[in-house]
Amino acid sequence: MSKVVSLQEAIQEVKDGDTLLFGGIVEDRRPVAAAIEIVRQRKKNLVLLGTCSQSGDILVGGGCVAAYRGCYTSNGAFGISPNIKRRAESGTIIIDDIGHLDVSIGLLALQAGVPFIASKTCIGTDILNPAYDNLSKVAEVAGNKEMLPNKKYVLMEDPFFDMGTVQLIPAIKLDVCICHVQMAGEEGTVRIDGSLAFDHYGALGANKVIVTAERIVPESYIRQEPNRNCIPCTSVDMVVEVPWGAHPGQVYNYYDMDIPFLQEYANSCSSQEGFDKWADTWIFGCKGHEDYLDKLGASRLEKLRALPPYGYVPRRKGGVK
């Protein structure tokens, strides 16, 4: 059965107050077009999980996020994610920091269907500081309170291998997981090139999974090599074809990052007025993703197209030595 829908239809399934994980990391293979559509549809009180970088920060700027719980609030080389930085510094967003392995293990627990997993991930650090524990505030704003655990963590002595104090890390439960990938079959089978980030964990456990893909191919084609596939069709609810859907970020084997665009975003969004102006151009000034691409222009996009065999645009003409 085909699960192909339009981007607008897919994003209508995201509900106010949902806990949400975006696939990809930093500015790489992020569902930016989906994030833009969420802002366009003016969703509210979302709980952003995992990281807040290129796609998540657009939601924060667009006023869609009430709380963030994760391990990274930066756009890497382009600076701290400007919208969440501003909101954090004005005390107008709830932040609950956890570690990178905490996110991995929390999503592993989700994928495995278990309530928690023990590790030493944040022992000794301020991640475990009760004064900085904002989990209950996050749960307060979430639409479905039962998606958040009752406690941030529990410490106990390892009863099996005498590893000393370990931390019980609860599952990270997702209402929605949105991934942008290179290729999907029309029934939802997903193939990812390059880093899988958390996509292969989040998509297996989320209640609702939306996949935007550079290309939708016949399901029979993607099933010729099942071992190459990363998310099964059985876990995916909706598939949308969104070429250049992670612009201005990278998609391995498809395109490289649009550095001037990322710099412009970083510079523009240091104030809310700056973000609003950016949004007037790139979100509300476009009817949809096709309009966004037309505004960028074909020649700009062509320069970003990845070169085989590297999967990116080598900085030196003629490829890398």
């Binding site: 930093v26 392995l101 991930t121 000794g124 475990l128 000393g164 880093s195 980030a197 890398v320």
Partner: protein, 268 residues
């Protein structure tokens, strides 16, 4: 490479920091390192080219034995994928740490204290309304907990190199035991590893075998131990320090021409 020395005026403090870090990584030729984002990626790329070609690079977005042909600018950069032995996702990128496979972690940060604790979360004000919100943990907490040793790279300024971090992101030698937050030696919590070396824009600091407090080991040419004392937020022991070997013309040339020809990292 020729042994011709560069003049101090021929490189910037950021370039010096990266070159000395690359030299330090010669200690890890043939070892496995998990490399964080930012200048550690640059120093690693330089080290791999001239000092530790057999260093094995792991990245937290799931690359095993990454061999980037050109400098990555993002921690999930496509440049880290091409040529790696194995490409999975973030969990598989981090599990080598918790499996105790990683010989050294290499990170930057915004603040380091005398026990080698690093802060990359917020500076000043309150957690819920910080003066400056930063990147958060990323892999920095995991590296600090699990790597057999940690190398830290950061510009040397009084507000950055301090008595105690505003927020303890990466655990050093004296860490917090919860729920009270009592300061204890990391071994007391069953933690292995710990910070081995802090390379700054002015010198190289290590940690005393006994009390685990940071001391100055080397100062860079053109910098005096007094300069470092004046730019450190606690009374740092400089009595054991000697001057570092000068930077080579070729090290700067390779850094500028081969590693970052477009000056993406704005080191110059």
């Amino acid at each position: 490479m020729t042994q011709q020395y560069a003049k101090i005026s021929e490189y910037t403090p950021a370039e010096a920091m990266v070159v000395y870090a690359a030299r330090f990584l010669a200690n890890f030729d043939g070892k496995k390192g998990l490399i964080g984002t930012g200048l550690p990626l640059v120093a690693t790329q330089l080290a791999k080219m001239i000092y530790s070609p057999n260093m094995v690079i792991f990245v937290e977005t799931g690359q095993a034995d990454a061999n980037p042909k050109e400098l990555a600018i993002s921690i999930m950069d496509s440049r880290l994928t091409y040529g790696s032995s194995w490409q999975m996702g973030d969990p598989e990128g981090l599990y080598p740490l918790s499996r105790n496979e990683i010989d050294f972690g290499f990170i930057g940060g915004a603040q380091i204290d005398k026990y080698g604790n690093v802060n990359s979360t917020f500076i000043g004000g309150d957690y819920n309304k910080p003066l400056k919100r930063l990147a958060g943990t990323a892999g920095a907490v995991d590296i600090g907990v699990f790597a057999k040793t940690t190398v830290i790279l950061m510009a040397h300024q009084k507000r950055r190199v301090c008595e105690f971090v505003d927020y303890l992101t990466t655990p050093g030698w004296m860490v917090k035991k919860w729920p009270e937050g009592t300061l204890v030696r990391r071994e007391e919590l069953g933690m292995r590893g710990g910070p081995g070396c802090f390379i700054s824009s002015m010198g190289i600091c290590k940690f005393d075998e006994g009390d685990k407090i940071m001391y100055l080991d080397r100062y860079f040419p053109g910098i005096t131990p007094e300069d470092i004392k004046a730019n450190t937020g606690f009374d740092i022991d400089v009595s054991r320090a000697t001057e570092a070997d000068p930077i080579l013309v070729d090290e700067i040339r390779i850094l500028r021409e081969e590693i970052d020809p477009l000056n993406i990292y704005k080191m110059r």
